[in-house]
Every structure is written in structure tokens, then in C-alpha cells.
Amino acid sequence: MKRRFQLKLLGGRDIEQVHRESLRILRELGVRFPHKDYLEAFKKMGARVDFDTEIVRFPAEVIEEALEIQRRNTQAYHRAHEQIDPNDYTQKFFMSGGNMRYLIEPGTFERRLATLRDMLQAIVIGNALQHVTRVSAFLIPSEYEAGLADIIQLYLLSLYSQKRYFFTYIYSLESARCLIDMARVVAEDDFQFRNGSLIEYELEPSGHLEFAREHLEIAAEFARRKMKIGTTHWSWMGYHTPLSYASLLALTNAHILAGTAAIIALNPENMYYRYIFPAHCVNRRDTSVPLMGSPHQVVFAWAARQLADFYGFPFCIANSGFSDALEDNFQSGFEVGVTAALSIAAGITCLGVKGVVGVDQGASLQRLVTDNEMMDYLNFVFSRSVDMGELALDRPAIEGAPRGGNFLASLQEGERLERAYWDSEIFFSGKYESWHSGISRESIRRRIESILRDHYPPGLVIAEGKVSELEAVMGSHVEDRSFVSRLRADLHRALAEDQ
């Protein structure tokens, strides 16, 4: 894949060595898959399966074959549905998939438990922001049992999101079954039902070289319905892998390759594949969390892009454009900006979920709006080539201007100005005299208020009949019989409140 910017970290031999080391780990150490269907499918594929320990050792050919099938499926998908130009560096981003219990208040940075109304507002803001492509309800509502959050999220997105590309983390097997049935109601056709735009599962290892039984059950549910599955490993260098870049690449890649084989094992028609490499470094001050905004994110992103290219997958996701800062300050801007810019320059297709503060410490609409503005800035940089046409070179203006004169009259040329300038409603660029502390923060607050004033409460985007069908599906899956009526009543109240 030829990219305009030839940003590379690893040599060709390095990439091959990482790949070989991943294959060696899978061949010699193996991975535990505590699920009978998977074990049997792997055996048929040619893997060495120990049914007692549930450990599967993969010969290289099994992995290569799984990769080849995914490549074929993915190429066909991209040809038919989603063209990817390796020289298009502009970005759309995903909102966080909805595992956040707290909302962080703009300005004060105090955090509080989230409510149903916060979720609705997040959907409204996500729909209004130009660079958000995949919308989520962002939060876990405190009024409900946490295990129901994913069902509530998909319900709200189905009812109120104009953008029909949703992101919802799946919390349990019971939820997964309900979400799949809900997606069947909402989907306009079988393609939309299966392509992951409404609901998607990402199969992840639960620990070092092992997957959890429940996760495999969820994946199997999706595979049975021929719904698209992805795989990834949220790995932290120094915790899930040894503390060296090379071993992180080899081991994380091994987990991803094992997941890839699992996807193909139960559904060789899996629609398409994205190489998702959300690697981090452990935080040595608090080893229960990783670092989100360290310089390592750039290294991981560059290596991820090279691995994805090595395997022939054009869409590559890496976790960049994050920060460890817990308030919106210089640190948040710097860490987000540097890691995002350098990852985009390397050809990362998507920078992971946005609007998150620290390591899932809370969701912030302020951060989401800032992330959107940053993406606008970077998209301007990466979408432009400098126009070298005769008009742009503008010999008459230069030669005609008096020496010591100026070109201010060109500000009157509206179309040219629009092409040449990036403008920001949020970032301040005036003189010291016209500045006062907090001016950017106020601009963000005004932006959020303006969106909510214009779009809140959101209108229904599906027919009433579909709403009833969705509620019937939820009622049939959730044990608490009062859940649906309570949700309906709470929703009514949330929509009636002033923004």
C-alpha cells in the first residue's frame, strides 16, 4: 500500500520478526479457548487442540489461512461498500462506546454520576459534531442496574440518532442476545443487520494467552447469525506484555491473530476486518491503569500501521489522541494533539474512541467538542496540498503591490479566503488586550449550549411501531418486568426537561 507520507518505524525484517515471533507464541505456547464449539472448529482447521486443558496450539498455516480468508472478505467488502484511499489522511472519529459511569462537568471538572438525560444529550451532541461518525450514548445511567446499560444505550440510539452508525459495548451474554434481537428490529435490511453498524462485538483475550468462556459465547452468538465480529487486545506494556516494545508488538499481535482465527473458525464469511491495536504502557504510579497520552502511543500507532499493511488490512485503528490529564488544560491539548497528529501522518485510519477523560475516568462533552475541533484542524492540514496553480501563485498581486505595501484587499475575496483559511469558533487568536482568561472554555460551553438549544429534545427517527417492537424485545429479555415501563416514563421526563 503506497502512502503519501512514508512514515515508518520498523524495517521490513523487523516486521517479519514480530510476525514470526507471534506465530511462534501461538504454535509453541498456545492459547486457552474454554469453549467446545471453538475447540472443535480449531481442530478441523488443523490446530493442535488439548480438550482437557482447552489450550490450542496453532500451526502457522492455520493462522495464515485465517488471515487470507479475512483479507479476501475485507477486500470484497471495501470494493463494494467502503472504498479506502491510502492517501486520504482525513479522520472521522468514534464516541466512546458507553462504559462511562461519570460525566465531568465543563469548567469545574467535578464529576457526577450520569443520568438518562446526559445520554440523550450525548447523542444530540454526537449527531451535531461534524467529525463524529460513530455515535454512542456515552454513559451508564445511574438510575438503572449497570448490566442494563448496553440495552438502554442501543434503545436510545435507535430512537434518536440520525447517524445510523452506533457504538455500544456489550456487557454480557444475556445483553448480547437482546441487542442482536433489537438490531434485527431496527435494521433496514439484512446487510445493515450483519455489517456491525448497529451492534458489533469485539472479541478480546481476558488474560495472558487466554479468552473467557462468556466472551466466546457472545462471539458464537454473533457468528451463528453471520454478524460481523472484530478482534483486538487492549494490552499494556509492562502488565499484559513484557516491558519492551518489541515483545509488546509480538504478544499483542499474537492475541489478535488468535482472535482472527476464532472469528473465521465459526464464521468464514465474517464481512470485513479491521486491524485494531489499542496498545498502551502501564502507569507505574498506578499499575491498575495504563497511560493514555504518553509518547508510547505514537510508537504503537506507527507499528500498528505497519503491521496492518504487512497483513494487507487497509483499516487500522490505534489508540491515539488521548490524554492522562483529568481537566482540559495544556497537557490534555498537547498529548491529544501530538499523538493524534503523528498517528494520522503514519496512516492510522481511526484514532479510537473520543470524548473520554483519562483512562475512562469519565466522559466529557467539553472534551468531545475539543476533540472535534482538533480533528477539524488536522483534517485541514492533511486534506490540503498547497495549490500551485497560476491563480494561487498570484504573480500579478506580488508584482503589482507597492514595495512596503500589503495585501489586505485580498480579504475581500470571499471564495479565496475560504479556501485558504481555517477558521475556529473555539480557539482564540486575538491580541492580549482582547483576551481574557477562560475565553476558549466559554466558546466550548456556548457551542454545547447552542447545539442543545437547537436539537434538544431530539425527535424520534424511527416509526412508533418500531419503538413498540423494540420495547417488546427488551421486555422479553430483561427479567425485571417493570423495566420497560420505567424506562419509558424516565425517558419521557428526561425529554421534557429544559436543556
Binding site: 515471533e21 488474560g207 516491558l243 488544560n329 501530538v338 483519562g358 508584482e399 495585501f407 482564540f428
Partner: protein, 486 residues
């Protein structure tokens, strides 16, 4: 063992054909329109050169393409600047990255968000001390245009403070030819003579053409003084798209390139073969206020292009990245500084900055300088890359930890911790509970504390007392000549 390292100079916007087109248009502009050179002595020198057409009445000079090309070929493409005792040096045109603090600002911010004030000589002393202490600041600026020193000799006193306060290469803005002469004498005293000044140049001549297509008399006076010592010359017009250059980026690049090439020709006529640095610092303005911007995406695009143009000619390049239009230590400032610095270093440029500035030359801030130093460490860590070998691939370690384990306490982790993991001094990495309960201090507060700590503990290497006395006496004589005796 193989190193996976990042190779800057790969971030490019212009194709070779486009570079050629800008060059060709710049040559045409210099031949047809030329530049204004308001300096009779220099006009006289230029008039005697084949390929240069001087129109004395209009003070206009036109250059043939041949003389421009010959000047490009003739100038030295790499050079070093030395500190006061030649033990510390920075190298241009060799792949080094040089980060510099501001040579001088006309306003001063003590703490983030406070009202700005006029700077004093004591502020410059603090700035120099801090620049000396911060490991990533390799070229120390005086940062403060001290208003408690008469304007006629301000740069002389600031240079004296630089010579006293740091062994790193250092600079302050130079006002005119009169002060330039005294500043060069200060260096002669400290370095031990004019030969040492030539052999171990401690400073370069920063020429700032006045866009469009002009020069100031003072700037040319300084160039003439510095050229007597064959010192390196850097040309950095601040052509601003839409106000002092065409609104189109291509047009601005053509004009700025022509201005830089004109300085090159003049400098090479005054001191043939002297080193040259391409100062790629075109800017844009905010069309709502007509104020210059130091961090717009268009500015970043042009910084990339100027780095390409400089490399096309083979010159080292000085770009103005790592700055922000924000006046505060806020998210906008972090985003703009971070993005422009990160993509700036990927152009393969030599020099970045100026650091420690609030907004577009709105003030200097030592807190900001401390933060900028930390951000450079962050970027340099990424650029360092990593090693792929048997030890770092850690196959044995992975087997030892086995299925379901973790690596936190493994010997391999402890052994590699320092080399692999960059640990920030200022950036906060706490979880929410720890951050909130420890007072949720802002980055600006943390930076301010580090600034105070460095200012109270850092020991500068003193200038030898005899030399210190001599430069004091010279500064006093300069005051008598340029202020008292006026």
C-alpha cells in the same frame, strides 16, 4: 540488533515539480521586481557585481537567476554555533534538532492568566538561568526586552547577561549597527579575539526582510557588521499571507522564498562562502482581526513547505513551530504547540521555536518555557524509537509468565523500565481520586513550582571574573557613547 528509529524529513507537502515551480517563480520575481535595499554602502558593493542590477534612486536591486544560483552553490551548508568557552555547541545542517527560547519579548507574564507587564533586566537574568538549567533548551534566549535598560543599549546589556549566565550558545535581538559593533566586541573579549570569533562563531546574524520585498536600514547595518567576521546568516522574513504576502499559500511561499534568496545573495556578496540558514517562518493572519497567527494549520503547511525548500537548496532550516495563539496554559495552547511541534520535527528541520512565548509574540512566560521543555522531552522520546532483538522480544519472559499471568514484578520489567519508559516531571498521570484528593493542581501551578525550584537551586557556571569586569566596562562605555553622549 536493529534499532527501530524514527527518521524525520519524511513529512512533505510539495512535490519536486512544485518545489521547482516555486523556485522558478521566485527567481523571476527577483529578476523582474527585485527588492528594496535602503543602504548606500551595500548598494555600492552590489552594484559592482555581475548579475545584479542596482537602481540607486529607488534603492531597488534586481538579481539575475545566475547570481542567485551561484550564491546557493557558494554558501556553506552546515555550521556550528558555540557557547562562550566553545565547550558547548549546536550544529546546523547535521540532523540535530535545536530548540531555542525566545530572544526577547516586549511583555512579561509572571503566572498563568495574570495581567502582563513590562519586562525588566532581572527577568532576563531569570530567563537565562532557566534556559541554562533546562536540558532541552539548547540555544538560550534572553526572553525579556528589559525596559529598565535604555533602548539604545538594551541588546548590549542583554548580551552581557547571556555571556555571564550560560555556557550554552545564546542570543538576544540586536537593534542596529551601533549596538551590533559593541556586541561583537563583547564576544571578542570573552572568546579571546576576533580570530576565535570567526573560528568558533557564537552567534548568527538574523536578517528579517520587511515583507513585501524590502529591508530595514538597521537590519542591513547589522548584516554588514556581522559579515566582517564571516558569521553565519539566517534570513527569516515573516511574510503573512493576506497582509504582507498574497493570501494564497503558494503566493506567500514564492514571495518569502524570493526574500530569503535575496538575503542570501547580499550576504554572499558581503562575505563569500559564509554559512547560510533558511529561516522558514511565513505566517497567516486571522481574517477577523488581521492579527498574525503563530499556530494556524496553514502556517503549519507552510512550515513544512519551507523545510522542503531549504532542503531542496541544501540549507539548514529554522522553523517557527511549537507555538500557540493562546495566551494561557490551556487545551488550545497544548493542541497548537503539540501538533505544530510534532509535525514540525517530522520535516527534518534543524531549529524550532521560539519557546516560552504566550500567544503570537504577546508576552514571555517562564512557566511556559518550563512546560515547553517537558513537551520537547516527550517528542524526543518518541523520536528515539526502540530496539528489536532477542532480549526485547522477550520470548523467554513470555514463557516464564505463562498463561493468565502478568509482568509487573518480572525481572525483565525492572531491567528495562528506565530505558523504555519516559517519566514526565510535570504532566499528571494520576487517576481521578488521587488527583482530586491531592488538590487537583493545574499544570500551570506545577510548572510554576518547578520554575521557582530551578531558579532557587540551579548553579550557573560563573564567567571568569576578569572577563566579567571587562564586559561590564565595555557595556558602560557603550552607554556613554550611545546614551549619555548623544
Amino acid at each position: 540488533v536493529r534499532g527501530a528509529t524514527v527518521k524525520p524529513s519524511v513529512f512533505q507537502v510539495l512535490s519536486p515539480e512544485e518545489l521547482g515551480k516555486i523556485h522558478e517563480r521566485s527567481l523571476s520575481l527577483l529578476a523582474r521586481v527585485g527588492v528594496r535595499v535602503p543602504h548606500p554602502e551595500i548598494l555600492g558593493i552590489l552594484a559592482s557585481t555581475a548579475g545584479i542590477r542596482v537602481e540607486e534612486g529607488a534603492q531597488t536591486v534586481r538579481f539575475s537567476p545566475e547570481i542567485v544560483e551561484a550564491s546557493i552553490r557558494g554558501a556553506a551548508k552546515s555550521f556550528s554555533l558555540f557557547g562562550r568557552d566553545a565547550t558547548v555547541r549546536i550544529n546546523f545542517g547535521c540532523g540535530e534538532r535545536i530548540y531555542l527560547s525566545s530572544p526577547g519579548q516586549y511583555a512579561w507574564v509572571d503566572e498563568d492568566g495574570e495581567q502582563r507587564r513590562s519586562p525588566r533586566l532581572s527577568d532576563a537574568r531569570d530567563a537565562i538561568k532557566l534556559g541554562d538549567a533546562l536540558e532541552n533548551i539548547r540555544w538560550v534566549g534572553a526572553m525579556a526586552a528589559a525596559v529598565d535598560v535604555p533602548a539604545e543599549v538594551r541588546d548590549i546589556y542583554l548580551t552581557r547577561e547571556l555571556l555571564r549566565g550560560t555556557r550554552k550558545p545564546a542570543w538576544a535581538w540586536v537593534g542596529n549597527g551601533n549596538t551590533a559593533r559593541h556586541i561583537l566586541k563583547l564576544y571578542e573579549i570573552v572568546l579571546g579575539g576576533s580570530r576565535q570569533l570567526r573560528e568558533h562563531p557564537p552567534l548568527l546574524c538574523f536578517v528579517e526582510p520587511i515583507s513585501p520585498l524590502g529591508y530595514s536600514r538597521d537590519g542591513l547595518d547589522i548584516l554588514l557588521e556581522y559579515s566582517r567576521y564571516g558569521l553565519p546568516v539566517c534570513s527569516g522574513p515573516m511574510a503573512t499571507a493576506g497582509s504582507t504576502a498574497p493570501v494564497t499559500l503558494a503566493g506567500t511561499l514564492v514571495q518569502e522564498n524570493a526574500e530569503i534568496l535575496s538575503t542570501l545573495v547580499i550576504a554572499q556578496r558581503l562575505s563569500p562562502g559564509s554559512p547560510f540558514c533558511y529561516g522558514g517562518i511565513p505566517h497567516t493572519m486571522d481574517p477577523r482581526t488581521v492579527e498574525i497567527s503563530f499556530a494556524s494549520p496553514e502556517f503549519l503547511l507552510m512550515a513544512v513547505c519551507t523545510a522542503q525548500l531549504a532542503r531542496h537548496y541544501g540549507f539548514p532550516v529554522y522553523i517557527n513551530t511549537g507555538m500557540s495563539d493562546s495566551k494561557l496554559c490551556d487545551a488550545q495552547s497544548g493542541l497548537e504547540r503539540g501538533i505544530t511541534m510534532a509535525l514540525g520535527v517530522m520535516t527534518g528541520a534543524d531549529t524550532f521555536g521560539h519557546l516560552g512565548i504566550c500567544g503570537f509574540d504577546q508576552a514571555a512566560s517562564l512557566n511556559q518555557l518550563v512546560i515547553d521543555d517537558e513537551t520537547i522531552a516527550y517528542i524526543e522520546r518518541f523520536l528515539r524509537g526502540f530496539t528489536v532483538d532477542e532480549d526485547t522480544l522477550a520470548a523467554e519472559v513470555i514463557e516464564r509468565v505463562g498463561i493468565g499471568g502478568n509482568y509487573l514484578a518480572d525481572e525483565h520489567t525492572i531491567r528495562h523500565l528506565r530505558a523504555e519508559i519516559w517519566v514526565p516531571r510535570l504532566l499528571n498521570k494520576d487517576n481521578w481520586e488521587r488527583w482530586w484528593s491531592s488538590g487537583h493542581r493545574s499544570l500551570a501551578e506545577v510548572a510554576s513550582e518547578r520554575k521557582r525550584q530551578l531558579l532557587s537551586t540551579h548553579q550557573q557556571a560563573p564567567l571568569e571574573p576578569g572577563l566579567a569586569k571587562e564586559i561590564d566596562e565595555l557595556a558602560e562605555r557603550a552607554t556613554e557613547e550611545l546614551v549619555t553622549g548623544r
